[in-house]
Symmetry: C2
Amino acid sequence: MVRLIALYSQPDDTDAFDEHYRDVHAPIVSRYPKVRDIRLTKLAGVAGRAAPYYLMAEMAFDSYDDLDEALSSEAGAASARDLRNFASAGVTLFVAPETPAEPIEAD
Amino acid sequence: MVRLIALYSQPDDTDAFDEHYRDVHAPIVSRYPKVRDIRLTKLAGVAGRAAPYYLMAEMAFDSYDDLDEALSSEAGAASARDLRNFASAGVTLFVAPETPAEPIEAD
C-alpha cells in the first residue's frame, strides 16, 4: 500500500474550504482510478500549539504504478487544476510507501 | 484511534539521523505508555518534486487521554528533550483524530 498524502494549510475561510472540498474536490479525487481508500482528517495541535495544517487527505493505492496511473489520469489532472480554486493557503504533497523505514515495536 | 504525527525535515546527514533515531529516539518513543502502534515511513516526492519531509512517524493511541498521558510521561518528556540531539533541521508535530472530517467513499 502506497499513500499519497496532502496536507492543506489553514484556509482563511474554513467553511468555504470545507464546502468546496466536499462538493467539488472530493468527487474528483474519488474518480482516481484504482484508489483503494481515501481518509480525511481535520488536524489538531499538540501541547498548546496550533496544528500547522488544517486537513490531511490520505489516498491509498496498492502500488506505485497505481498511484502514477491516478496522477496521470484525467481525474489526477483535474484535481491538480482544482487546487487553485480552494487551496490558495497552500498544500503540501508527498508519498508514503508502506514499508517502514526501521520497524520498531511498541512495548 | 488518535495518531500523533511527527514529520521530520530533511537532515543534513541522513545516516547520522537514521542511526540516532533507531538507537536512541525509537527506544524512548516505544516507552510511551499505552502507545498502540508506531509506524515509520521514509517519504518520497510527487511529480518530480522532492518530498518536503524526510521521515514520518505515526504513533497511535486508543484515545486523546492516552495520548495526553504519553506526552506528559517521563518518556514523553525524554523524547521532547531528545529532539535537539538529532532533529535540528526541524520537526512538525500534529494530532490526527480518527474521525473523518467528511467521510467519502472511493468509487
